[in-house]
């Protein structure tokens, strides 16, 4: 009996391998919203985002922005012919060890350009895979410098952590705060990087820093907070995932921290306000985008996107159950539009050609200048929006724009 099973499984494997050889593409991975199109002129854009794991919530919001952009501009003209854009989504599970096969899956399905990912770690881990396959990738909100550094195929349309960290350090110092606690998550490149650049800038300004780390999946911050409060810090800088944020805010307040709590772009998610409740006073964060921006492009995007969100319940759920426009959604929208602009400039579906087109590209999106990439492939962004939590309306309130230099 066992022998039959063994033989059967062996045959199964052989057949599977042969099937893999002949078809050369995975049976499916198309986005649910895009039934296979009948037209032969199709260009595929890969969406490399987390839908589960620590960064699942943010990844879903970023993907929403890309899907909306796709609904706005579902076609692209190459060489006088109209091509339908097909989105291929893959879940990288916020996990660096799953990143390789997720990226490989996109490449196998024949995408011309990749967008993503939320969370710098997975982007760093998969960067070389995209470069080897000569497929350009456009990062929407991955802020760690290592994502694009030394990788000729990775581009990025948002600002970087050294910039963001300095902005927040300046902001804290200008508020008269001199002793900062920096709490980061071990093994999270985004968190550790941003914390590092904040400390560096804050020390340079003349402040002092107490550093602490927690392990991923940690839920009990009470002891850490007690020790930080006991050390006499007057501000807590805690760049971390949406999942940890409410725990950090609440337990910091429980331990008796009354000063400001600050973080980076990830905290711009309304579930944090819901979950942290009354403890979320004096919370400041840097953001990519302000939905109340008065520029025509931003206004049009916010109105259109809100309508689009309301039209479908699943979209609302993926946005954390609210109609708020997250900064990462705006960046997702811009990333898609940059990709389309590059494809049109290249007049080709070939990865290398699109990459060459990206290098000299100019594109002004809803979050400001989204191209004019420097030698590393980073967009020329020199402004961050500082926001605070408005507890009464449970929203993020725009405070000021801040740049360095």
């Amino acid at each position: 009996m066992k022998r039959y099973i063994a033989l059967f499984l062996a045959c199964f494997m052989l057949v599977g391998l042969l099937a893999g050889c002949s078809s050369g593409s995975p049976s499916s991975s198309a986005a649910p919203s895009n039934p296979p199109s009948s037209s032969s002129n199709v260009i595929k854009i890969g969406i490399y985002e987390p839908a589960s794991g620590m960064n699942g919530a943010g990844g879903k919001q970023e993907t929403l922005g890309m899907r909306y952009a796709h609904s706005v501009k579902p076609t692209v003209t190459i060489g006088g012919k109209e091509y339908t854009v097909e989105l291929v989504e893959v879940d990288n599970q916020s996990d660096n060890s799953k990143a390789v096969s997720a990226a490989q899956q996109l490449i196998t399905s024949g995408v011309s350009v990749v967008l993503g990912s939320y969370g710098s770690g997975v982007s760093i881990a998969a960067g070389q895979i995209f470069a080897d396959a000569k497929i350009p990738a456009i990062g929407a909100s991955c802020t760690n410098p290592q994502v694009t550094e030394g990788n000729p195929y990775y581009f990025r349309i948002c600002f970087l952590d050294p910039f963001q960290g300095t902005v927040m350090a300046n902001f804290a110092y200008e508020k008269g705060l001199r002793k900062a606690a920096v709490l980061t998550e071990a093994g999270d490149d985004y968190s550790v990087g941003l914390g590092h650049y904040f400390s560096e800038a804050f020390k340079k300004l003349g402040g002092s820093v107490v550093e602490a780390q927690f392990q991923s999946g940690e839920t009990d911050f009470s002891a850490t907070m007690a020790s930080l409060v006991s050390a006499g810090v007057d501000v807590l800088f805690a760049p971390s995932s949406i999942e940890s944020a409410p725990l950090i805010i609440k337990q910091a307040r429980n331990a008796g921290l009354t000063g400001p709590i600050m973080a980076g772009d990830t905290w711009e998610n309304e579930t944090i306000i819901t979950n942290a409740g009354d403890a979320a006073y004096e919370v400041y964060l840097s953001a990519f985008f302000d939905p109340n921006d008065t520029s025509a492009a931003a206004k049009e995007f916010v109105e259109g996107y809100t309508e689009w969100l309301k039209a479908d319940n699943t979209r609302l759920t993926n946005n954390g159950g609210s109609t708020g426009v997250a900064g990462v959604s705006a960046l997702g929208y811009d990333a898609y539009m940059v990709a389309i602009a590059a494809i049109e400039a290249a007049q080709s579906t070939d990865g290398t050609a699109i990459r060459d087109a990206l290098i000299g590209l100019q594109h002004s999106g809803v979050t400001g200048e989204c191209a004019s990439f420097d030698e590393n492939g980073d967009a020329a962004k020199d402004m961050a929006y500082i926001k605070t939590i408005d507890l009464q309306n449970a929203t993020f309130k725009f405070l000021q724009t801040q740049s360095i230099s």
């Binding site: 589960s52 780390q213 999946g217 850490t224 007690a226 999942e243 409410p246």
Partner: protein, 295 residues
Amino acid sequence: MHDFSYYIQLLLAGITVGSLYALIAIGYTMVYGILRLINFAHGDIFMAAGFFMIYISGTTSIYVSLPIVLILTVVLGVAVERAAYRPLREAPRMSVMISAIGVSYLLQNFATYYTGGLARPYPVIPFLTREVTIGSMTVKALTIITPVLTVILVVALVLLIKRTKVGMAMRAVAKDQSTAQLMGIKINNVISITFVIGSFLAAVGSVLYFSNYEQVTPMAGAMPGLKAFVAAVFGGIGSVPGAVLGAYVIGICETFIKANNDYAIFSNAFTFALLILILVLKPNGLFGEKLAEKV
């Protein structure tokens, strides 16, 4: 450098964590005492109880959902025993343990699938989370309720094991299954009762634990589960007071380690270092009975 109230604050936090581990550890120690099985799925049953509460409290009031959660968790615990451990009663111990790992894997994956893999906020249970002031400190009611409840449950359990017929049957099965069977004890029933008690305590622990940390993730049970097992080994497998003591030692030490920022990364590792130390120095734990090697 630090004032006195800082240490009191840490101690209180440690006792809360310790009590929570204790409630899970009792389930481990009882199952291990009787089946000689590390029930890897126990931590995941604890996690499942957290999700039960989230989904049920969404449809009805907290006070109605509490008993429903307790019942559902017990049903899940017994079902796991029926489906995954009972068929392997005669199999080598390694197979049963692999089955336990398989169940744990299944529960985690199912929770990830069902919840979408994101953290879910735990409902607020007012009488646990309201704040109480003692002297100069304000703490959550649960910081006080948890240790008291733990002690009450442990005393009740010890009485159950020492004074009742069921308890006697449990002790008999733990000592020698086949002899117990010859004496007319229905082994399967006793094992089911053990799982009922263990899962019930896990559910109680889950309500307290998640009320404190306010959110549940599919992996939330894995680490507390392992630590509770270490607590059970530390105290001596099969000994309920030992498991509770072990849990408090681990909870308090862990809190003090976390408070030291240079070494905070070792908070989980410390638990395992303690385990290895105790296994090497005193293989039967602090209060464990000496087990004769069966040839």
